[in-house]
Point group: C2
Chain length 497, copies 2
Amino acid sequence: MFESAELGHSIPDDLYKKELPALREALLDLQFDLAEAKAFPVLILIGGVDGAGKGETANLLNEWMDPRLIHTCAFGPATEDEAERPHMWRFWRELPPKGKIGIFFGSWYTAPILENLAGGKLRKKLDSHLSDIVRFERMLTDEGALIIKLWFHLSKKQQKNRIAELEANPKTRWRVTEQDKQHLKHYDEFRTLTGHILRETSTANAPWMVIEGFDPNYRSLTTGKYLLDIIRARLDSKAPPLRKAAAPALALKPVDDLNVLNTLDLSKSLDKDDYEDQLEEYQGKLNLLTRHEKFNQLSVIIASEGVDAAGKGGAIRRVTQALDARTYSIIPISAPSDEENAQPYLWRFWRQLPRRGRVTIFDRTWYGRVLVERVEGFCSTQDWMRAYAEINDFEEQLLNHDIVLVKFWLHIDQKEQLARFKARENTAFKRYKITDEDWRNREKWDDYQRAVCDMIDRTSTERAPWTLVESNDKKYARIKILKTIFEQLERKLEALK
Amino acid sequence: MFESAELGHSIPDDLYKKELPALREALLDLQFDLAEAKAFPVLILIGGVDGAGKGETANLLNEWMDPRLIHTCAFGPATEDEAERPHMWRFWRELPPKGKIGIFFGSWYTAPILENLAGGKLRKKLDSHLSDIVRFERMLTDEGALIIKLWFHLSKKQQKNRIAELEANPKTRWRVTEQDKQHLKHYDEFRTLTGHILRETSTANAPWMVIEGFDPNYRSLTTGKYLLDIIRARLDSKAPPLRKAAAPALALKPVDDLNVLNTLDLSKSLDKDDYEDQLEEYQGKLNLLTRHEKFNQLSVIIASEGVDAAGKGGAIRRVTQALDARTYSIIPISAPSDEENAQPYLWRFWRQLPRRGRVTIFDRTWYGRVLVERVEGFCSTQDWMRAYAEINDFEEQLLNHDIVLVKFWLHIDQKEQLARFKARENTAFKRYKITDEDWRNREKWDDYQRAVCDMIDRTSTERAPWTLVESNDKKYARIKILKTIFEQLERKLEALK
């Protein structure tokens, strides 16, 4: 991985000075074309060995280009707000929007490197971590981001010389820290580990580029030209190539017409007394759990989806009645804001993740991608087809961070829906609940059903299963939802003990 | 303040049950009209004595109304992210957008109450704190927010009875904490203090409403009806009344034609050698300060304004060259996003405040309100006239939080501007810097000059003075800016020692 970056590259000063003006002008031009097109974000990850010019390069890029269109982030130890969310949250909230350049120091590569120096994880565990990274970057590039990964390298001999030279000069001696010496001692180990990491995560869509860092002229010119070429090429290409490919519709049409929805027993119901007893029972039990001494060690996310008029709102209210208003938020998902539109699809959900001891209820969710966006053609087939895996990855991260994730699909049949639509139209204070869009969606009933079946098949995992809720009878549905949340939360609290 | 809330109000159950359905329906209706109109946000502040129904009321409102359109926030001790910003930052980031309802527990009233119980500040200091609050709330209501402040009260006798009753019952005894007993002991003091605070902060635009909290029926019905009346009245009024009033233009036209801009000596300049020496000197000095051991105890904000083509971008680049790219952000201010448009004017600046040890450079600033928005008529005369005081309050908060705030106005004359516009049009890689808008703005030269003079007069305070930068010579301007930042930062670092 590092062979070509240990050749002792260098560029004489006069050549450097001759090449620089044209390069800078071209980079500035590029940057404004990028900002004007607002077509995609550019994310530059910077890594490498000590003293190979990481910081210098970031500073130089800011000097050469217009720093107003660059945002450079350094990630140190997690702040309290960051530590209360899944690991990747801090990176999500710094992602550059379309048209801008973000430079990340200490990106998602810091953890696997630090954790695996000096022994660390089993290679198998490391590789699973790296494949998470590969999938994450793949998601970003599929969403249109241009990811440029730069690794600045020094050979062992160069590193030794660098430290010796700094130490020999009284003026620069202070710059050599104990850490530098420690790192030099572990140079070979570091080289082997990072070589492995770079190879494993160098993909067609987000390759690593290793740059020899010893000679500043060589390093700077190489970096500048590489950025210029790669960003310009992308700008001049008509469209992100990945979006174009056609993809087959997923769903098999079952020849016997059975599916997970039409086999639900929608006649399930509860009588009023039973309902009221159980409502009180489970609201009380759920409330008690939220005052459990370990409740502050976890967070809860409730993902609520369902057929129009299936009773999501009413069910959510029965859940929130059991909670203290100071502990929950409800996020109704409708059209994205313009800030959300300038980011990858999942960004708007990441920004709403609850801190510890809080409950966030999504009224419609990230599954919009494989439901309404698929059926209405708001995104390409490629986009919604890859969304299943992206969503599974997203939820996996939630679960790994001790977030209790409960997912509901509220189902009613077409006849019941019609009755409810009509009732809504006739009740003054429910009029807001029924719109022309609801009627239009109803006409696409079969398409939506197929999308739901695919969604359930492809995103119902062992750790984050879908709960299908028979909702023709609202009372039955509400109790099933309350009970499910209670049980999953109780199980998690016990596991924490 | 509390007299009418110590009368022993109560409502019998049957009357409560009779009134409730119509109230709930009207509240729901109201809420959807509010969401549909998206005309203003509603902010409900909840305070009061222990056990008077604060939490119960928030829960009840969420139960009665659609909880998806309400966001309830409780503010506990500041998190790390919050502690690194001015005190009010945490409230700014939870403000509800237009069309939604926010319920705040532990609002900006918590600090003055806690700090002044048991002795605390001098009354004079308290009153200055309260007048800050009054001005802050005035700004919010001027920006269109509807602020509803509810205080739930119990008389001393009711409080005693409540605690005695809870203690008498083995099932509820656990609910009485040591804190409750302590608070009861200090009841009179608390009543006097909060009475004073409520009176001082009960204004025409944001009055306190005190509600007796002992009888839940009375409390709930009173709260519900009050909210209904006041929100409905505002919704049905055609426009926020404050925006309508006409206001005189501010600037005196000086009869001798002298002003702070045309008396600047724009012939000031530096020769190349001098410039290069000083550039190196001050960039080096500034860099050293950012590595000062106390630098992590403060933050820096640089506010950059100036005539079009005065050289803001170039000057900012000379500053950032002295900084590590990992420590600064540049925020170019252009049109607000839709999320920003749904919030008070200053919200978009609050959200960008730097954490400790970081530098944020605003390229154009909150002064847009009294410059471009005034001249182009993007806001009403009332709006920009009140902005001077709002901006002074905002900056005061920054300074009180150990933020070094440096404000620049870069000035050139009309002739120099014309020359630069033409040069830009003729240079390929500068073409992006000159637009039709620049030429249009130039035609309004006199209006802009008048607005700038007013701005300088009204917002140049002792602690946050404007630095006027003679910029016909770019070299002179850049050095003056670097030197000013260096000096102000140095002074602050010394003051911290």
